[in-house]
């Protein structure tokens, strides 16, 4: 078994028992990265020197039997919109291509305190705007299951790093599904915490009222472990919540597993346009949960059809203000006049932003500016805020009857690179199942629940067999929970995972 094939939990054990050194671990992952990076391109920046230094320091502590943090020596991949002091933070954009962060994000600080090691910054859709990691200025990332397909987005690089075993786990960010959808596309576990559970200080803002940082990992335990370290109240983030936090690694098994747990299946999520294989896999998963003792109940989330429109008014509006700071004046890319042409202030703004931002970012900034402008604010932005309340109310109502909600993570498995790039609206619709959770602020996790056959064939393989066929694509199962009930959705996820370990095992 190669070092890079070990889970975070296993690595932790071995390091603690001094069976392997941290330096060995770090070097093993960098070797693995070298092996596969050319094909996959998960990373924008590799922080090898720093990582080796960190490794040496931790090895020293371990040798001297000094106390070390809970993630001592475990490498993490970090999405490139999280600030690590002294390292580049590009957000997948030309406008920050050489920007070096001046401070550590709170989650980075927490990881440092836990003695984790940063392998590098992963590729993403520019400023987290996208569902395929195709809008990055630094090139696309490829799905390790099928290199012609998207890895999902916007945390595509983090998802592929984990799936291709370039890192045991990674941090991503989720504004409309950007952790869960790539996790589904890449056959791994991805969790979006409740809004306010994890501090956003140091996360480059896209949509302030929707963004959350979360873990991506190969299994539910590792995911819970990473969440445990990064979550918690932060006074530097006025929207973070000071609530008691359980140890997310405990309680995964629970005394009675999920017996008696009520699972809701929203009828609005099983509609036309959803891939039949996806529907089959999710309904199958529901049956398995039922066998394990959960009760399956059909529920209704009546305002689901408005979620995408609501999101695509609120998020770009907030983004239009959040991205205003990128003007070439204090940091980042600055467009200069050519041939000693004089350039006044407005020209500098226009050229810098025109050249520095990609098409999708510009599209959303324009959308947001329009929705907030005089004469349109009431009809668009304000209206969207009101519908958001209705969507949240749907969940409040439903959670009186059920404990968790089961849905597909995405309507289709990973589509081909370039397939939806020309049709933004089509691209937006791939968020349809994940978006409501951000609007309502509730937590959600995506776990693998099967494979689709790709390309589709008249001679379908049984679900369990498909994982062994090259080019077949993972399908993700989404579990949504009540606000601050990460514990519950982790438990359901874990229970399902342990039951289906064999049938959803994958070999890359």
């Amino acid at each position: 078994m190669q070092i890079y094939e070990l889970t975070a939990k296993e690595l932790r054990e071995k390091i603690k028992k001094k069976e392997i050194s941290v330096e060995e671990v770090v070097k093993a992952f960098y070797t693995r990265i070298e092996e596969v990076e050319e094909k996959i391109h998960s990373f924008v920046t590799l922080t090898k020197e720093e990582a080796i230094k960190q490794a040496e320091a931790i090895d020293r502590k371990i040798r001297n039997n000094e106390p070390v943090g809970e993630l001592a020596g475990i490498p993490v991949a970090i999405k490139d919109n999280l600030c690590i002091s002294g390292a580049k933070t590009t957000c997948g954009s030309r406008i920050l291509e050489n920007y070096i962060s001046l401070y550590d994000a709170t989650v980075i600080k927490k990881l440092r305190d836990a003695d984790a090691i940063f392998l590098g910054k992963t590729n993403m859709d520019e400023f987290a705007m996208g569902s395929s990691t195709e809008t990055s200025y630094f090139g696309v990332t490829h799905n390790p299951w099928n290199l012609d397909c998207i890895p999902g987005g916007s945390s595509g690089g983090s998802a592929t790093a984990v799936a291709a075993k370039e890192a045991p786990f990674a941090l991503g960010s989720d504004t409309g599904g950007s952790i869960r959808q790539p996790a589904a596309c890449c056959g791994i576990v991805g969790l979006k915490p409740t809004y306010g559970r994890v501090s956003r200080y140091g996360l480059v803002a896209f949509a302030s009222s929707l963004d959350q940082i979360g873990p991506l990992a190969r299994n539910v335990y590792d995911c819970a472990l990473l969440l445990k370290i990064i979550a918690g109240y932060d006074k530097q983030d006025s929207t973070s919540v000071d609530l008691p936090m359980p140890d997310f690694c405990q309680g995964l098994e629970g005394k009675d597993g999920i017996k008696g747990l009520k699972v809701g299946l929203p009828k609005e999520y099983f509609i036309e346009g959803i891939d039949s294989e996806v529907e089959k896999a999710v309904k199958n998963a529901a049956k398995i949960l039922e066998k394990l003792g959960a009760g399956i109940i059909e529920i209704s989330l009546p305002h689901t059809e408005y979620a995408v429109a609501t999101y695509y008014l609120i998020a770009p509006s907030e983004a239009s203000a959040n991205l205003a700071r990128y003007d070439g004046i204090r940091y980042g890319y600055q467009a200069r006049g050519t041939r000693h042409e004089e350039q006044d202030l407005v020209e500098t703004y226009e050229k810098t932003r025109g050249e520095g931002f990609g098409a999708e970012v510009k599209r959303r900034i324009m959308l947001g500016t329009y929705a907030l402008s005089a004469g349109y604010y009431d009809a668009y932005y304000l209206k969207a805020l009101k519908v958001r309340t209705l969507i949240k109310k749907d969940f409040d109502e439903v959670f009186r009857k059920v404990d968790v909600i089961l849905t597909p993570t995405a309507p289709t498995p990973a589509f081909k690179l370039g397939e939806k790039l020309d049709d933004p609206l089509k691209m937006y619709l791939s968020d349809i199942f994940t978006i409501s959770a951000n609007l309502a602020g509730i937590p959600g996790i995506s776990i693998p629940c099967g494979f689709s056959q790709y390309p589709p064939s008249p001679f379908p393989l049984p679900l369990g067999e498909r994982s062994k066929v090259r080019g077949n694509l993972p399908i993700g199962l989404q579990i949504l929970g009540k606000p601050f009930a990460e514990e519950t959705i982790l438990k359901v996820a874990y229970t399902y995972e342990q039951t289906c370990k064999e049938s959803i095992k994958y070999e890359l």
Binding site: S238, T239, S317, A321
Partner: protein, 498 residues
Amino acid sequence: MDYQTVIGLEVHVQLKTKSKLFCGCSTEFGAPPNTNICPVCTGQPGVLPVLNKKAIEYAIRTAIVLGCKVAERAIFARKNYFYPDLPKNYQISMYELPLAVNGYLELKIESPITNYQSPITKKVGIQRVHLEEDAGKLLHQIGSRELDYSLVDFNRTGIPLLEIVSAPEINSPEEAYIYLQTLKTILQYLDVSDCDMEKGSLRCDANVSVRPLDRLSVSKLGTKTELKNMNSFKALKEALTYEVNRQIHLLDWGGNIVQETLLWDAEKKVTQSMRTKEYAHDYRYFPEPDLVPLLLEKQFIEDIAKNLPELPATRKERFIKEYQLTEYDAGVLTAEKPLADYYEETIRESVKLKVKSERLTKEVANWITTELLGRLNAENKTINESPVKPENLVSLIKLISQRTISGKIAKTVFEEMYKTGKKAEEIVQERKLVQISDEQEIAKIVDAVLKENEPVVKEYKAGKEKAFTALVGAVMKKTSGRANPEIVNKILKEKLHE
């Protein structure tokens, strides 16, 4: 045609909290450029604002004293526009739900303006009070073409500003002056701001319009212009006077007022149109998603109301009662908080050092009002810049009370104290001004004077009272004014009547 002047004032006041509104940087004035900055106030990627509670307290304190209704729920909002002194290219301000609304300021207007003999009071409405963050400072270097550039200093970015908007109920430039003075005094007394227009901690913009007097009841307000760049109280009055006249002339002439923003040019003494913006700015206000709504509990507001610092009117009354001062003196001393503080500190120090003076409070008041203030005003200095500190004044008064120097000499000493900042004792020693109170010594001098001035002595003995004064003068001259006048009088009388 007679017109009514209608003015509304928008005042921005820097709150004197130790740190900025949304981060922990220092608000200290005059620091080297870009030294009081951090990732938050320079708008780095990924940063978030955290509200400064003290700023809220100061804002509520002000709102209460201005008679406003403090909101139970206030919301910060983003005001979006691009400018190099605004790091995030939006300012965190307040819009739909401000901190407080519907207050008023009571002005005392003296007779020259009104047709009445005695001062009248007038209430000017205050529409809203809210908090926002200040922008940075731009310094434009205009030189040869290659050297044209502007420098940005972010020290000021993020300093808390209190915006106070008046109703358009001010009806003359003089009233506007009084409004701003009154507001400044109150804010200083509340200890929420230094209100120094030169340092930029007090800024004022105005909205000005006129309308015909004979149709006041029917006509709505005339077209208004916005007046900016009035950087002193004097400039405020001059600019408003100029603009009102300009509008009246234009209307009489048959023209129309264009709604525009005008800058006051303090050198040319005219208002200039800012032709850069052809259209009104759409700030696209929306609630700040990085801050939660501000819920102000009744108890919090009540606690602030209970602990208000002493207000000008109250302090004046107290000065009259406690220190037995005249209304005039009390008025002068309490006109500005630092001056009243100076006075009271001098009194405190005097008591501490057990200065024995019959009418100490009156004496201190006199020194300040007659000797100190005149000199300060002539040099355009504030009491905080006085070269004579309270301790110095106390020691001077102590020397008088101990009869070390006479009241007359003291005035000379004070002059030098003011010029050099030296202590009273030092000056008295250096210039050998110690009063001669030794009776024997004086007796000797008197003897000498009497001998040297026999004709004058004869005149006195012949009944000429004035001669006595001359003899006293001679003794004083001989002692360079240092002889204790009472003792001189006593001994001279004794000797003359021997």
